[in-house]
Symmetry: C2
Subunit: 121 residues, 2 copies
DNA sequence: TTATCATATGAATAGATGTTCATATGTTCA
DNA sequence: TGAACATATGAACATCTATTCATATGATAA
C-alpha cells in the first residue's frame, strides 16, 4: 500500500523499519471503514442533531414537537431528521398526518455518553 | 425558556401539555454542553483525524511517521494534530527535532469502538 | 372535492472546514 | 555560526454543510 520509495530520505525513526510500519498498518481497519466511521461521527458533530437526539432520549416526538421544544424551524428539523434516519440513528412511524420519530439504536446512548464523559473532565 | 405563545396553535400532541414539555426539557443538558459535545464529535468526523488516531492506537508516532504511514502531507497532519491536541485527544512530547504524539485519553478508544459497533451492524 | 394541517424536498445562500503553498520556528550537527 | 531537518503556522482556495425560502406531498375533516 505504501511504497518503500515514499518513506526513504525522511525522518528515520519508524520509517525505515518495515516491520514497525506493518505493525501499525496491519492494525488499521480498511480505508472504507474509517471513512464510514468519520461519516457517522459527522452526524453527531452538529448541535442541532445532538439536541434532537437528546429530546428523543425521553420519548418519541413528532416533527412539530421537536421544532417547538428546541425553537427550530420545521424545515430545519425535517432536514436533520432525514440525515439521522439515513444513518439509522432514528426511526419514524406515521400516525395520520403526524410522523413520530424515535431513537433507532442503543449505540446512540453509548456514543453520546462516551462523548459526555470526555467533556466533563 | 420556551414561551407558551410559541407552542400554541401548532400540532396538539405534546405542545399543549406543559408537564410533558418540562419532562423533556428538564432532562436536556445545558445548551453549552450540547454545543461542546457536538464540537467534540466534529473532531472525530474527519477521516484524516480518524486515521491518525487509529495509527496512534499502536504506539506513539512522530509527525513524519504519521505523514508517511498515511500518505498525507506533513502540513495537513500538523494542522490536524493541532486540532486533536486542542481537544485533548492527543498529547505531544519533544525529543530533539522530533515531536512525538500519543493518545491522551482512554475515551478515544471507547468513543471509536462505540462508533465501530454501529457501523458493523 | 376542497381547505387545512403536518411533513418533506429542492434550490439558493452563507458560513465552516480541510488542504495546499509559502514561510516561520526550533533543534541538531558540522 | 550556518546548513539541514522536523514541525508549526498563516493565508488562500475549494469543498462541504446547515439553514432558509418556496413549494410539493400526504392525510384529515368538512
Amino acid at each position: 500500500m505504501i511504497s518503500p520509495d515514499l518513506i526513504i530520505d525522511k525522518c528515520d525513526f519508524l520509517c525505515v523499519h518495515e516491520d514497525a510500519v506493518q505493525e501499525v498498518l496491519s492494525s488499521m481497519p480498511a480505508d472504507e471503514k474509517l471513512y464510514d466511521l468519520a461519516e457517522l461521527f459527522k452526524v453527531f458533530g452538529d448541535s442541532t442533531r445532538i439536541k434532537i437526539l437528546y429530546a428523543l432520549f425521553e420519548r418519541e416526538l413528532c416533527v412539530c414537537d421537536i421544532s417547538n421544544l428546541l425553537g427550530l424551524s420545521q424545515t430545519a428539523v425535517s432536514h436533520q431528521l432525514r440525515i439521522l434516519k439515513a444513518n439509522k440513528l432514528v426511526k419514524s412511524r406515521r400516525s395520520g398526518k403526524i410522523v413520530f420519530y424515535a431513537l433507532d439504536d442503543d449505540h446512540v446512548y453509548k456514543i453520546i455518553d462516551c462523548g459526555m464523559e470526555h467533556i466533563n473532565e
